[in-house]
């Protein structure tokens, strides 16, 4: 029931996203009909395409048409590859998802303990380290961090593989199950491939993690400080509870809600950074697909990509909303 009500709150965002992407498809530079007809088309051919694609009809009719195509999963066809956009997005999505989720896990695994440690000893060395990382982290352009890591770990140290996709040339992709190479190779018990995939993944994931670490560590520190300063913690201390129990059970449980809220913002960063990082590491995900299409002035894939990313983001925010209720019973009561 609560889930349904939350779902209803996501509907306006969903509608907004679809309307904006529709408007973006109509705002193509110049005459879209002339564009789709190609440079050699005659005036009559352009007119025919205009009619065929519905550009001569009213905006409302075009919008309903657009919705009908969307409902059928038709995002248009890429001009440069001739493939349906939806199909290419679906085959490339696991690569992007694996990269983004690994980056998020890595970032949470570093940021949350760092933030807690900084909050436990304000003004200490680790607190300063936390502050420097958070300020430097948001200032780093992701594409530059990626290149820097490639130079250090591939060119100088030689420990990382060449930044060329998800697997080196000697490995073959594991049988498709989830599309995540790490999981699929473990299922197939192919540990060489698992290792190869992991070593390709680690640099791009670290690049994105460095970027997203900052807001998470900052908010963890701030909300832990607030929780540790509250009266129930003083009571717990006075009652002689073990410090570890106070920190992790009493304080952290209460400090985690703002951290989860920030996760939503971090996802917005990560999905954007994804595009840049995929370009740097030649990662065959949907971001690099969109960039290639952009450079070739092939608009249908770009629009499909923007829509996919926005839908993913709306769903992620919904999931985070639902997570609130699980973490904090008070939120459930209010809803």
């Amino acid at each position: 029931m609560i889930a349904l009500r939350r779902l209803a709150t996501a509907l306006p965002s969903l509608a907004g996203v679809i309307i904006v992407t529709f408007l973006l498809t109509r705002a193509l530079p110049g005459d879209p009909a002339a564009y789709f007809a190609g440079p050699a088309a005659t005036a009559q051919a352009i007119e025919e395409i205009r009619h065929l694609m519905g550009f001569d009809r009213s905006l409302a009719v075009q919008f309903i048409d657009y919705l009908r195509h969307l409902a059928q999963g038709d995002l248009g066809t890429s001009l440069s590859t001739g493939q349906p956009v939806l199909q290419e997005l679906v085959t490339r999505l696991p690569a992007s998802a694996e990269l983004t989720l690994s980056a998020l896990l890595l970032s949470v695994a570093i940021a949350v303990p760092l933030g807690i440690a900084a909050a436990l000893r304000p003004g200490s060395l680790i607190d300063h380290a936390c502050r420097i990382t958070t300020t430097a982290g948001v200032s780093l352009p992701t594409f530059f961090t990626g290149l820097l890591l490639v130079y250090l770990f591939y060119y100088l140290a030689g420990v990382a593989p060449a930044p060329l996709g998800r697997l080196d040339v000697f490995s073959t992709a594991p049988p498709q199950w989830s599309g995540f190479y790490l999981i699929d190779s473990l299922i197939a018990r192919d540990f060489d491939t698992f290792w190869a995939a992991l070593s390709q993944l680690i640099l791009p994931a670290a690049t994105m993690a460095i970027f997203s670490l900052a807001p998470l560590a900052r908010i963890t520190r701030a909300s832990m400080l607030a929780a540790l300063g509250s009266e129930f913690i003083r009571t717990a201390r006075a009652s002689g509870l073990a410090p570890r129990r106070i920190t992790y059970v009493y304080a952290f449980r209460n400090a985690v809600l703002p951290v989860v809220t920030t996760l939503g913002m971090v996802f917005s960063f990560l999905l954007g950074a994804n595009v840049l990082v995929e370009k740097v590491f030649a990662w065959p995900g949907i971001g690099s697909y969109a960039v290639e299409a952009l450079i070739a002035s092939d608009y249908a894939p770009v629009q499909g990509f923007v829509l996919t990313m926005a839908l993913l983001y709306v769903m992620l925010n919904l999931a985070i909303d639902l997570l609130y209720g699980l973490i904090d019973p008070r939120v459930r009561l209010e809803a």
């Binding site: 300020t135 060119y155 060449a162 370009k279 952009l294």
Partner: protein
């Protein structure tokens, strides 16, 4: 006014990092103003005999694949990069603040429309939305500016709305209304100056984000075209040389880009210390 100045001086003296950020900002402003006359070489002049040489006394930052002096290119690019960021933030600030003020002060249907528009922008991953906008409107510097302005707009609109909402029945607003001022006049002459300090902090913070965003867009080939000197493009051009060990082509533009963003972020933190009344002693 003198109290504010004294307080600003106190904050700068207390916090040398903020003072450093302001100094760095003046350096960037100088490069932006005088760029071409500060640069030791012509940023577009190629010299194939000197191609891809590392940093030296003649070329402090080295040269790129066409033998262009990287220091000159980095310095000259400052005007373009800061220009894009400043214009787009100014647009976002103007439109966002005014619509947010109107929404917070008037409430009602204006509030609902502004709120819905802001929510819709925020429903997108912002960099992806910027990509989509530039792809749809056409690949030009002007459209990069519009796209960056649009994705920064919600921050100002939300902040201004929240502040106006809190203050719309404040004593000084009621007094102004009692004196017979019109609503538009109250918003512009009473509310706006009062929320200005808060907004300026946000301006500094979003400038850093705007620079990152514009450089990211030109890194993937949008907006600025080669051979124009721009930090994002220069990093993109240097990317292919990283794997063969010519690190300086990408490193120096990247470092300068990073320094600029870092500078604006630190300045934002420092400005917050200056304008935040709670920290004033």
């Amino acid at each position: 006014m003198t109290a504010t100045l004294r307080h600003a001086g106190y904050v700068l003296g207390e916090n040398p990092v903020t003072a450093f950020a302001f100094a760095l900002f003046f350096l960037f402003a100088l490069c932006a103003a005088l760029g071409p006359s500060l640069a030791p070489y012509d940023p577009l002049a190629s010299d194939t005999a000197e191609a891809l040489t590392g940093p030296s006394a003649a070329h402090w930052f080295g040269t790129d694949q066409l033998g262009r002096d990287l220091l000159s290119r980095v310095v000259v690019a400052t005007r373009l990069d800061l220009g894009i960021a400043v214009i787009s933030v100014a647009l976002a600030f103007g439109v966002g603040t005014l619509s947010g003020l109107a929404a917070g002060y008037c409430g009602g249907w204006i509030d609902r429309i502004v709120g819905r528009a802001v929510d819709t922008i925020m429903a997108f991953p912002l960099f992806v939305l910027a990509m989509g906008i530039v792809a749809a409107l056409g690949n030009s510097v002007a459209n990069i500016i519009y796209a960056t302005a649009i994705i920064n707009l919600p921050i100002y609109a939300r902040l201004a709305r929240a502040e106006a909402n809190v203050r719309r029945n404040a004593g000084y607003v009621e007094a102004a209304r009692l004196c017979g001022n019109g609503e538009a006049r109250i918003v512009l002459t009473q509310l706006l100056p009062n929320i200005m300090p808060l907004m300026m902090v946000q301006v500094s913070l979003t400038l850093g984000y705007a620079i990152l965003n514009a450089a990211g867009l030109s890194f993937i080939g949008l907006g600025v075209r080669p051979p124009t000197a721009e930090w994002g493009i220069m990093v993109a051009e240097g990317a292919s040389f990283i794997v063969s060990g010519e690190w300086w082509v990408a490193l120096f533009p990247g470092l300068v880009l990073m320094a600029a963003v870092f500078c604006f972020n630190l300045m934002g933190d420092g400005l917050r210390d200056i304008v935040d009344p709670q920290r004033r002693t």
